[in-house]
């Protein structure tokens, strides 16, 4: 049963409760495919391949050129469209723990379970890389030197992270300390 949904150009956030009686809270972040981007990449790949075939047929160049361009096309499509992660989910079981799931395009699912008593605090933090800044949701886990990322592969906007953070705060009994920020 879908309770709530937010979407933007790159991601869809879905909050559902499959088992209302058991109070299991499920939050999904689904990666959206960009049709325009896909179209652009495939046209580019087609142009590269057609150029190499043209050179082979009319200019009598080596057949290896076609093979190399084919390899380049595969690399290009893999690089620009090969987003292996389809969606990431957070399954919150209040008295039990939190299960983090990563669903790949191939159908493979990787699950990671964090017991509720080990979670000290869920936090929304700003990450800084050499090229960009983004928000991420992490769990401060007892006995771990590093924080556990809730969404390892996807970078959803903060408006999608806030409901998940609030749900995690409620489940772990942490205070929602948003008072340090001006709304």
């Amino acid at each position: 049963m879908v309770k709530f949904s937010i979407s933007n150009a790159r991601y869809i956030y879905v909050h559902d409760q499959k088992y209302p009686s058991e109070d299991v809270d499920i939050h999904h972040i689904v990666s959206r495919k960009s049709i325009a981007k896909s179209l652009f990449v495939y046209i580019l790949a087609f142009l590269v391949l057609s150029c190499s075939i043209y050179l082979y047929v009319l200019e009598e160049k080596s057949i290896s050129l076609v093979f190399y361009s084919l390899l380049f096309d595969i690399f290009l499509v893999k690089l620009l469209l090969g987003k292996p992660v389809k969606k990431e989910s957070v399954v919150i079981m209040p008295a039990f723990g939190v299960q983090l799931e990563t669903h790949y395009m191939s159908g493979k699912v990787i699950r990671c379970f964090v017991p509720i008593d080990k979670i000290l605090k869920p936090v929304l933090v700003e990450c800084v890389t050499a090229v960009t800044c983004y928000w991420t949701l992490s769990l401060i886990v007892r006995g771990e030197s590093e924080m556990v990322l809730v969404f390892k592969s996807l970078r959803p906007p903060v408006k999608m992270l806030v409901p998940v953070w609030k749900a995690l705060c409620a489940a772990t009994g942490s205070k929602e300390e948003a008072c340090t920020h001006a709304e």
């Binding site: 150009a9 933090v125 700003e126 990450c127 800084v128 890389t129 050499a130 090229v131 960009t132 800044c133 928000w135 906007p157 903060v158 008072c179 340090t180 920020h181 001006a182 709304e183």
Partner: protein, 442 residues
């Protein structure tokens, strides 16, 4: 701030905490006072060791430690376009209106100013040091300065000497350059409750023991002073390549009981070293504005200093004895200072320093500079290019090319990652009384 414009300022420099120095202190205290005046301040610097990412400091000062590794002398590698994506992201997400770069030797500062003004932001630059004209390094640095300051909105210098130097080096119009001296946190540098008594006169030296700070001058001055004044003792704090020469001098003249070496002194311990003395000795050969003099005067010490750069502008005549950077003149100045010592009241000196140099005043004056910068007209690409073209026959063309590439890269970024996709961050509000109290103290 009544009716005055609230600014959102991005301070950019390679030099910031946990590193210690004049520039670092300046950025920190200025930011704190600007926050207190109701402005939004964000600092961008490179990462220091494992200190990377976003950190919050006193008063809600937000610091971005960008994961760029220092290349030489705490400065990042000079790649004009590398910081463009991150600087653009920070500018948009923090809703910045003014970019304020600090220090000539900060490559991150130059890169940020270049990229910011291409994006149409108002830029202010503060020069904290003096630079030469003769050697190869200075010629190169001055050309970079000319490029950076060609279309800067406003510039700030820490002394009139520094202003003169900056105007000559960069070709900047003098009316665009403001002079705002540094200040001192007098609450951190209070005189001792009991002044060191006894017949002994203790002279304190705290500086990096390098050529620029006049360590070679000390080698000649100390033995002569010790010979002329048997009741004088020296305490030398600091480290550097010239320490060996000073230790050799101590051995040669058998001054082990009269010259103490403390080695590197952490900033937190500077006051405790200063209050153990009567006179502060500064032997710098070049100085835009000597922060150490202010700290010493705030601790109630009489200062003897070389008359170089912006030093004569720092303190009133009754608080400092100036000398030429010559051993004989320095010795004479120290003797004069010893004679003046009975008239010095450390507490009175401290109170005067409190009035003369405070960060709140510096912030108020910087605020005026920001207001002037905001009134500067917006320039299009052609106007930017025409300003850079006048920087030299060959250099001008290179600068224009750099600007054009930067402009194209910015538009490519606008296409790949539109500004609408970058999330704006909420502003931090002081939630603890202690933070407000700490700010009030400064």
């Amino acid at each position: 701030m009544d009716g005055m414009q609230k600014h959102r300022i991005l301070m950019v420099s390679d030099f910031f905490y946990p590193n210690f120095g004049g520039v670092e202190n300046h950025i920190y205290y200025l930011s704190q006072c600007l926050l207190k005046l109701g402005h939004k301040v964000v600092v961008v610097t490179h990462s220091y060791g494992n200190r990377s990412g976003v950190r919050y400091m006193t008063g809600g000062l937000k610091v971005y430690y960008v994961p760029l590794r220092p290349f030489f002398n705490q400065s990042t590698f000079p790649v004009f376009y590398a910081p463009l994506p991150i600087i653009r992201t920070i500018l948009i997400r923090e809703k910045i209106t003014i970019v304020h770069g600090h220090q000539t030797f900060s490559t991150l500062c130059h890169d940020a100013l270049l990229n910011s003004r291409i994006m149409g932001y108002k830029v202010v630059f503060t020069d904290h040091s003096l630079n030469g004209f003769g050697d190869l390094g200075s010629i190169h640095m001055n050309k970079v300065m000319q490029f950076t300051l060609a279309d800067v909105s406003q510039a700030i210098c820490v002394s009139h000497t520094s202003k003169e130097n900056t105007v000559l080096r960069s070709g900047l119009r003098p009316e665009k350059v403001f002079v705002i001296p540094n200040a001192v946190d007098t609450s951190m540098f209070k005189p001792a409750l009991e002044h060191p008594s006894g017949p002994e006169v203790i002279i304190v030296v705290i500086s990096r023991l390098v050529y620029r700070k006049g360590a070679d001058l000390l080698v000649e001055v100390i033995p002569e002073v010790c010979q002329l004044c048997p009741n004088v003792r020296f305490i030398i704090g600091g480290d550097g390549p010239k320490r060996v020469r000073l230790e050799e001098m101590r051995e040669k003249h058998s001054l082990q009981d009269r010259v103490d070496f403390l080695g590197a002194v952490p900033h937190a311990r500077v006051r405790s070293v200063l209050i153990s003395g009567h006179i502060f000795l500064n032997s710098s050969l070049t100085e835009a504005f000597c922060m150490a003099i202010l700290e010493a005067a705030s601790c109630g010490l009489l200062t003897v200093s070389t008359c170089v750069g912006g030093v004569p502008e720092v303190l009133p005549d009754d608080m400092i004895v100036l000398a030429k950077p010559d051993p004989g003149d320095m010795v004479h100045a120290i003797q004069k200072a010893i004679f003046m010592l009975p008239k010095i009241d450390p507490q009175v000196m401290h109170n005067r320093m409190k009035e003369l140099y405070n960060w709140h005043d510096v912030a108020k004056r910087t605020e005026i500079v920001y207001d002037c910068a905001m009134k500067c007209p917006d320039l299009d690409l052609l106007e930017h290019l025409s300003r850079h073209l006048s920087c030299g026959a060959l250099a001008g063309k290179i600068f224009c090319l750099v600007m054009i590439i930067s402009y194209l890269l910015w538009h490519l970024l606008e296409l790949l990652l539109p500004a609408d996709d970058i999330e704006e961050v909420p502003d931090v509000i002081l939630s603890h009384k202690s933070d407000e109290e700490m700010l009030a103290k400064n």
